[in-house]
Symmetry: D3
Subunit: 120 residues, 6 copies
Amino acid sequence: MSNPSSDLQNFRESRQIMNEKILDLDHLGIKRFFNLDTNTYRDGALPSQTKELLGLVASAVLRCNDCIDYHLEQCAASGSTKEEIIDAMNVALVVGGSIVIPHLRHAVQTIETLENEGAL
Amino acid sequence: MSNPSSDLQNFRESRQIMNEKILDLDHLGIKRFFNLDTNTYRDGALPSQTKELLGLVASAVLRCNDCIDYHLEQCAASGSTKEEIIDAMNVALVVGGSIVIPHLRHAVQTIETLENEGAL
Amino acid sequence: MSNPSSDLQNFRESRQIMNEKILDLDHLGIKRFFNLDTNTYRDGALPSQTKELLGLVASAVLRCNDCIDYHLEQCAASGSTKEEIIDAMNVALVVGGSIVIPHLRHAVQTIETLENEGAL
Amino acid sequence: MSNPSSDLQNFRESRQIMNEKILDLDHLGIKRFFNLDTNTYRDGALPSQTKELLGLVASAVLRCNDCIDYHLEQCAASGSTKEEIIDAMNVALVVGGSIVIPHLRHAVQTIETLENEGAL
Amino acid sequence: MSNPSSDLQNFRESRQIMNEKILDLDHLGIKRFFNLDTNTYRDGALPSQTKELLGLVASAVLRCNDCIDYHLEQCAASGSTKEEIIDAMNVALVVGGSIVIPHLRHAVQTIETLENEGAL
Amino acid sequence: MSNPSSDLQNFRESRQIMNEKILDLDHLGIKRFFNLDTNTYRDGALPSQTKELLGLVASAVLRCNDCIDYHLEQCAASGSTKEEIIDAMNVALVVGGSIVIPHLRHAVQTIETLENEGAL
């Protein structure tokens, strides 16, 4: 079993480096999409905290571990508790079925790392 | 263009009739799944209202109009406003991309019907 | 609620007409794919009956009603019973989650029509 | 079998009415997404004609009939021939598998309607 | 190329550790889902052996390597031969298209490891 | 962060070894599918160069990194420029949504490796 803590740290670094390279491509459509994506989770009719949970569940049913990790961090940062995050993941599990289980395993590893970091 | 109001009413009736036929099949696994599904959206660490929004966004990114209609009704019944529902659909649109747009069109039709019925 | 029996009959007719038009396009790659597809479900290491159940479950988790209808007919024709078909659909429901439920409703309608026709 | 020609006309009208209602919701994120979506297919490093074929194949493997219809119209309008469109659909069929076949049937119906209208 | 044999062993260990952590979360809905999932593949109208093949094909078309590995082990344990498993994977390939090929490569690696272990 | 250059080299070697093992299975259906897949991207009504871009976008919206890497190599080999490839990936991003972003990051890493190799 690999080290979940350094896995998450590697993902964070790789994500930042590659996002910068993507913006450096200077493709206007891609830059606008990234800007739109960031703004989506700002407080609006729904608070940011709820929208990060929506992003987490969408990522889980679409089965994207990198997206799950990113939204788990944002859920913790916007004030959701571990119990609320697990309850959201249960919705993803029931909607998306057993095919979501490997991603639930991944999420629980990341949640543990965030707890160890004091971020959750 | 068909009549969205009678479309929604047809869906409700068809959904109820067919769900009864499914439970009449008397397959223990299927019956337990339906029971589990219902319980998922009850108040827990997250309130039912939030979980219905999670169900809505999961249904939208997985692109299932029947599931969207069902969760729109439940979102309205559990106290979400039209503005909150639209803000949740925007998360689904950005996560899921332009392929979600036809389902956003469908959702906006159903939202209008729910408003006309006084349910939203 | 529309008439499931005539819905299935319409699907059969439309499917045959359109498949002929597709083959008339005379695109070699498409013709070879259709030929390959037909041969897939012939007796091999696994009997045709089992492979039609595999095709049914694949269609259900990928959530394609037309494909479900086609494989339900082939499952019935290759000797599976209603109980076996329902047990296969339960696997699809658990793997694919509640998003499969509308397709389970559709399948149960088609199964009823096949029973009424004496085909199952 | 329903009337493919009026089906396409209904889709066009419904699409326009609902898109206007969506923009009337006045959600900034949604409006920006629609704007971004439109700009995506303008001439850039790749010509619009190629990008509409890319949009068609993406719609086909993601199995969205409304999106297929929209991009078929745009492919015809931007100068692709029927033979080129069919060759693009063959790529979608091989990448996406037999689950794409019902959408290929739908596409061939729409192509026929576009031919009858003199648009292709 | 990594070592497929130790990859599979790592997956088994990680899967067991993480499943225990998931059950330790003590979320009733998640625990019931796991229980339901296990029961799905027990002998019913269809024998366990057939249902494991259904689970394998569902996992392959939904493109989940961890799920493929799990069901390959269960297929071998419930008595399917290598030839039957390959014939099932061919159904997944034709239904799901060339996008399934990387998962077919993964499956063939795991099958080889199971053969080397004497499990298949 | 792992080494993208050796990652791509490992993928190439693993892909070749495993494809040979798949063909050695001697399953007629699988062999015919692989043959069909190869022929799909040959010059036809559309040139190979355009069809590789179609394969790339289909792979990106279906979110398969191995398929993205393969088609990136083929896009470069068939004469597409980096700017054209990025413009195609932007279509995939808008159609497929933010869930495609991790695969865009992967693609940009591979594009950089192909540039370093002088292949793009």
